[in-house]
């Protein structure tokens, strides 16, 4: 049996309402905030990576090198303004088109997600065949999460701003939760979040430099 295909759906179609400015374009290390998670995804075993953006996105946050990456597929979602459920649906439809057995949902505002985390999630998914495998911290599941294709209809039925979170509470789905480092799932919604995250990243990198 050939290995299961797990596509990545990189949701980058949010409106950055609470940030007040396009958060994907904020500086992050030597790139932009929006590309940090994407790089991790492109380096992981997930393929293809479906990047969901608004219909008129000028893509200033996304350098050509990444956009033209073999694994990268851009999807412009006309309904994205209606909420996350609709961006997710755009991504899922593309995943169905490419014949994916499962889809990993990633958020463009989670810059600390690592390739290792994604590969570990994929490994557990392939090994145990649950309905979903999610990253979690302190017992709360969150993206990145791999949804098996049996769950696609339930995900496509979501409306408005609902994410897949509500499916975590439905007891008939069998889930695996990968309890990990608290920083990995950190998402950035406000200016304060961003400032905190920048400091956190500097400390983390400074620390690791110091160790070497």
């Amino acid at each position: 049996m050939s290995e299961l295909t797990i596509a990545g759906i990189y949701l980058a179609a949010g409106q950055s309402r609470r940030m007040g400015t396009d958060k994907r374009a904020l500086p992050w290390g030597d790139g932009t905030l929006g590309t940090a998670g994407l790089k991790a995804a492109l380096h992981s075993c997930l393929s293809p990576i479906i990047v969901v953006v608004p219909p008129t996105d000028a893509l200033v946050w996304l350098p050509d090198a990444l956009l033209n990456h073999d694994k990268c597929r851009l999807v412009r979602c006309a309904a994205c303004h209606r909420g996350q459920a609709h961006s997710l649906a755009c991504g899922l439809q593309e995943a169905i088109v490419v014949g994916a057995d499962a889809a990993a949902v990633l958020l463009a505002d989670q810059p600390f997600v690592t390739t290792e985390t994604l590969d570990a999630l994929a490994r557990f998914y392939r090994q145990h065949h649950p309905d979903y495998a999610a990253f979690s911290r302190f017992g709360t599941p969150m993206p990145p999460v791999i949804w098996g294709k049996q769950m696609f209809p339930a995900l496509l039925a979501l409306r408005g701003d609902a994410g897949g979170r509500r499916l975590f509470c439905e007891p008939h789905w069998r889930g695996l939760l990968y309890e990990g480092d608290e920083s990995i799932g950190m998402d950035i919604d406000t200016k304060e979040d961003y400032e905190r995250a920048v400091i956190y990243r500097e400390v983390k990198e400074g620390h690791s430099r110091g160790r070497r």
């Binding site: 570990a120 557990f124 145990h128 649950p130 495998a133 979690s136 911290r137 302190f138 017992g139 709360t140 007891p171 069998r174 889930g175 695996l176 939760l177 990968y178 309890e179 990990g180 480092d181 608290e182 160790r211």
Partner: protein
């Protein structure tokens, strides 16, 4: 002499000046530190645990997981020391990281990656007993257990105690009135100031040295032998002063982890220490309960029958919870004579932190249920609740629920306690008054009794050694957990040897290699058992002193008396020899010597106790029943549902008060604990059974300045075979507090309050807000 005086505790100066040292105060160069990785889920299968990143982190020496470890548990071995295949409660240990420093261990702990498959969680005993409820222990039938544990495989029932006395049908048939009351409360914490901790190391000779903040150092030794096959003689457990225990330090948990950790690092010393959050949920908790009490009585309030169901929330593992559920059953009626009794007390598995005794060992829990029901009965019959209790008070000649015939010695004087309580509380003047439009004052009362359901072969030993100045050292296995028992032992020894209590020195810490065994420092049995052993040791020393003195004074030992630092001729005290001259033997002027250091030894084993009959519960569970009557006066605000506890009363039959101030301290301390538990303590669980308040910011015990006025009196009905007649008093102050508070508030608010903690929101909900959703 020494008994009956308020001797200041021997360790008091050290404690008030901060010099006293506790387990975690003993730090050593080179000691390693452990950090516990705990489960964020209450019920989940463990799919995998990745430790390689943590192992590669700086300073890390070992990472332990649960694979291949033996199951543990005192009555039934159902608990892996580290969860292996699945986790069964929020906060359960899934891995232990050992590193050079605590910070390194904590940092590495974050690198442990665990994959869980969440399972539906069981939230309360009633939920756990529903048909189709998820099973916590699929292999319940395969667990090793002792002969008196009766699990019910295929269910979540870890153990059932049955009490059948008389004929319950006949009892109800003879009743004019039958009432039924249900009560419930969730598990809570002990909140000892010192969190639980243990260190362990293995010396090159293979001996295992453990230090632990524990009530059961001798049990640690025994269990490490049982679980891991280590030679008992090679296990040495050391326990210094303990900073509060309240039953929470009776079970053995962190000690096992410390032992496993030191083994994993080649015997180096490892410290396992609970931070507050871990101490609250990872280590065992105060048991929760759901209970239904049905009382049948005549119209003048005479009890005819009691049918009681206790569903104890044992949590994920049965460990000591089985014992607690049995102890509550044994005394299920409270201190009242009931001819026909039917009780089923279940220890039920739930996905909550596993339970252990709390000061009173199932009795404040049990009496909350029964005493609430008695007040409800009195209301229905329109009788004075005090009268109902007085009418049914248990007396010598009656039998207990387990059919033990009571005597003048083995039970305290319940009517006397009630009578005195009535006077102290001015019960007859008023029970409920309205001070103004919003303010109501009300009084509530409760009875209480307790015997100690402990192992039938529990024993205690004491050694007395003499110093060259004639002073004495007392060495006993009772742990000084803050109750002052060791000072009381000094008083007992001083009294018997007729010497100054200042000349009786007490070895405070325990070392199981050199300290004679005291089963466990639990169940208010320290003074009784160790006191008897101390008396025996003193008598042994007296015999030796007399023998040597008889030789020197050329008389027979029978003519001699020991006291006041001398051994003297009874007939003519002017003929004597100082104890100091013979404490190390006597040297004649010509250099010849006789005797040697005087070493008194004594022990005591509980006598004629039996296990309970599995079908009827008949049996003798403990040596005596101490009784008490207690009351609470509250001031309740009808507008905002807040209240103030104005006064709390306790009248306790102490048998004989050996140290008045210490006894008062014990009673008041227990009362405050009971009020704190009843008024504001309890874990909050979410739907997935995660504890939402495992920290002292959100779990708030009673604070300084919030205490009522405590009014405590003692009745003295001696227990004939106890040291100077003294009964256990460490727990009785607590027994009636939850029920008395609930009874007072129920009267004040005019609505039955059968849940704990009694926070204003609960009272509001019961009175008018039950239909509102959660706030």
């Amino acid at each position: 002499m020494a008994v009956g005086k308020s001797i200041i505790r021997k360790e008091a100066w050290d404690k008030v000046t901060g010099r006293a040292k506790y387990t975690n105060d003993f730090k050593e160069q080179g000691m390693l530190h452990a950090k516990l990785v705990t489960s964020p889920y209450a019920h989940a299968r463990i799919i995998s645990i990745e430790t390689h990143e943590a192992l590669a982190a700086p300073g890390v020496r070992a990472v332990l997981t649960g694979k291949g470890l033996p199951l543990t548990g005192e009555d039934m071995r159902d608990r892996p020391p580290i969860a292996a295949d699945k986790v069964r409660y929020y906060g359960e240990v899934v891995a232990v990281v050992v590193a050079d420093t605590l910070v390194q261990a904590e940092q590495a702990a974050r690198l442990i990656r665990v994959v869980y498959e969440p399972l539906p969680a069981v939230g309360s005993p009633r939920e756990a007993l529903k048909e189709g409820a998820p099973l916590l222990h699929e292999e319940l039938d395969r667990y090793e257990r002792n002969k008196t544990t009766y699990p019910e495989p295929g269910t979540n029932i870890a153990h059932r105690t049955k009490i059948r006395k008389g004929d319950i049908k006949q009892g109800f048939a003879e009743s004019d009135v039958i009432i039924e009351t249900s009560v419930s409360f969730a598990p809570s914490d002990h909140v000892a100031m010192e969190t639980r901790c243990a260190t362990a190391e293995i010396w090159p000779d293979g001996s295992i040295h453990i230090s632990a903040s524990s009530q059961s150092p001798f049990m640690i030794k025994r269990l490490i032998h049982t679980y891991f096959g280590e030679e008992a003689g090679k296990i040495v457990v050391h326990t210094p002063l303990v900073g509060g225990a309240y039953g929470g330090k009776a079970p053995v948990q962190l000690e096992l982890l410390a032992y496993l950790a030191t083994k994993a690092v080649g015997g180096r010393k490892v410290s396992v220490w609970n931070n507050r959050e871990c101490d609250m949920v990872t280590s065992p908790v105060h048991i929760g309960l759901e209970a239904t009490v049905k009382i049948g009585a005549t119209k003048d309030g005479v009890f005819k029958a009691m049918e009681i169901v206790f569903l104890f929330d044992g949590g994920a593992y049965s460990d000591k919870a089985i014992d607690v559920s049995r102890a509550a059953a044994v005394d299920c009626t409270g201190p009242y004579h009931v001819e026909h009794v039917w009780c089923d007390s279940l220890c039920v598995y739930t996905n909550r932190p596993y339970a252990t005794p709390f000061r009173s060992f199932g009795h404040c829990e049990q009496s909350f249920a029964v005493e609430r029901a008695i007040d409800e009965l009195a209301k229905v019959l329109q009788l004075d609740p005090w009268d109902v209790r007085r009418k049914n008070a248990i007396r010598p000649g009656h039998t207990t629920p387990t059919q033990v015939r009571l005597t003048k010695s083995n039970v305290g004087d319940m009517p006397a306690c009630l009578d005195r309580l009535r006077e102290l509380m001015r019960w007859d003047e008023w029970q409920r008054i309205e001070l103004d439009a919003y303010t109501v004052r009300a009084k509530g009362i409760s009875g209480g009794w307790k015997t100690s359901t402990i192992d039938t072969d529990s024993s205690s030993g004491v050694i007395l050694t003499f110093n060259s100045d004639g002073s004495v050292n007392v060495i006993s296995g009772v742990v000084e957990i803050g109750t002052g028992t060791k000072t009381v032992l000094a008083q007992i020894v001083a009294e018997r040897l007729k010497m100054n209590v200042d000349d009786v020195h007490v070895k405070m810490d325990i070392d199981t290699q050199t300290t004679p065994e005291h089963w466990k420092t639990v169940a208010s049995r320290g003074t009784f058992m160790a006191g008897r052993a101390a008396l025996a040791a003193a008598d042994d020393a007296i015999r030796q002193l007399k023998e040597i003195a008889a030789c020197v004074l050329r008389v027979t030992p029978d003519d001699l008396e020991v006291g006041f630092g001398r051994v003297f001729l009874r007939d003519d005290p002017a003929i004597f020899i100082p104890v100091k001259d013979i404490a190390y033997g006597y040297k004649f002027p010509n250099g010849n010597a006789i005797g040697g250091q005087v070493i008194g030894r004594g022990h005591y084993i509980l006598r004629r106790l039996t296990p309970l009959d599995p079908e009827t519960g008949a049996g003798k569970p403990g040596p005596e029943w101490g009784v008490c009557a207690e009351g609470v006066e509250v001031e309740f605000n009808r507008r905002d549902y807040t209240y103030r506890i104005v006064k709390a009363y306790a009248v306790i039959d102490a048998g004989k008060v050996l140290n008045p101030k210490a006894a008062l301290g014990q009673a008041m301390g227990a009362m405050s604990m009971g009020l704190s538990f009843a008024s504001r303590e309890g874990f909050l669980f979410d739907e997935a059974q995660r504890v939402l308040n495992p920290q002292l910011r959100t779990y708030r015990p009673i604070h300084f300045g919030e205490h009522p006025t405590y009014i405590v009196e003692f009745i003295e009905t001696p227990q004939i075979d106890a040291p100077y007649g003294a009964r256990g008093i460490g727990e009785h102050g607590l027994l009636g507090m939850p029920a008395a508070l609930a009874n007072a508030l129920s009267l004040a608010a005019g609505v039955p309050l059968n849940e704990l903690p009694l926070v204003p929101e609960l009272i509001w909900r019961k009175q008018k807000g039950d239909s509102y959703g959660s706030l």
